[in-house]
Symmetry: C2
């Protein structure tokens, strides 16, 4: 693993934890056992380093869903599998999830466009296609957004949800969350097409 890759990997974790202005080049240098000057040999400035780290983190996240779309099963089953995969990916890689949250919070238009078009568009299209199959008379964009929104909220708000009344440990289990969301959506489609 090259120094540049080591720096990027550490930067992803630390930027995710502390945010852009919360992480100093000195802290990053300490984490990768290099001097600050060595980092500046690989990256022209802190902002460029941050952008490269984000790009690096988002690059091959889409691949995790390929097997879902390629599988030969019913639309209902595909939805169930997509939701399971989505929750698993987000729960397994918390650093990625936090970095994404930070990017959304920043909401820089140029970076949003890059993120959408470069990384997630193909996944979103496939999900819209699936939504159209399951509920043809509804707005596919709204529906695809709902699927992701349902799944994401459980992950994003886990730290808060556990302090609400009625919380149970199983509410943090991926299978339980996925099953609940899938049932909710499929029930809704059933009623609509009936």
């Amino acid at each position: 693993m090259s120094s540049k890759e080591k720096i990027l990997s550490a930067a992803i974790v630390l930027f995710a934890q502390k945010g852009y202005s919360g992480l100093s080049m000195r802290q990053l240098a300490l984490a990768v056992n290099l001097s600050v000057a060595a980092i500046y040999h690989h990256f022209p400035d802190k902002n460029t380093l941050y952008l490269e780290a984000v790009r690096f983190a988002f690059l091959d996240k889409a691949q995790a869903f390929d097997q879902v779309w390629k599988s030969d099963c019913s639309a209902e089953e595909k939805l169930a599998r997509f939701i399971r995969s989505f929750i698993n990916v987000m729960l397994e890689d918390r650093d990625f999830h936090r970095l994404m949250q930070r990017e959304i919070l920043e909401a820089d238009p140029e970076r949003m466009q890059l993120l959408a078009q470069g990384v997630f568009t193909s996944q979103f299209c496939l999900l819209m296609q699936l939504a159209t199959e399951l509920a043809p008379e509804q707005d596919a964009h709204l529906l695809a957004t709902s699927v992701i929104g349902l799944a994401k909220y459980y992950i994003e708000y886990q730290p808060l949800l556990k302090y609400f009344p009625g919380w149970k440990p199983e509410h943090e289990m991926p299978e339980v969350i996925a099953a609940h969301i899938t049932t909710l959506l499929l029930n809704s489609f059933k009623a609509k097409t009936a």
Copy 2:
């Protein structure tokens, strides 16, 4: 309006925009036309100022929903009204919404507990009660979470969603979002109880 209140109000907006470490005391002082030393007369340090600002922002947000719960109408209608109110509050007060996102991202256990118990618990309980009425055989906590998750995602991810294919301007209209979510949920309940 006292100086202290002026500082807190400005701090909410600026912390929401730039984050804790992204906002300097100098910038805040400039924004409220005071010296840095004057701010330190009212607050012992930056961290305390931040915590007080967050508390100040969250204080009376719950009141916006009182009329929803007090209204004398069907459970279905109550759900529709809650979703409308929720989306409206979040869209109207973007600073509040961003500050909340930042707090969740931070995910400090102690502050999560304070946030949950001190501010949102009563709302969450009322929503769980409503969920139980609408779908008695389902987990109320999971269902209440789903309602908020659906609504929140549309707001939080608006900056990203507009760059996905299939997006239409109406997807940013509160009534359209609320109608879509309400229909989705009520359809799901219908199927379940059938």
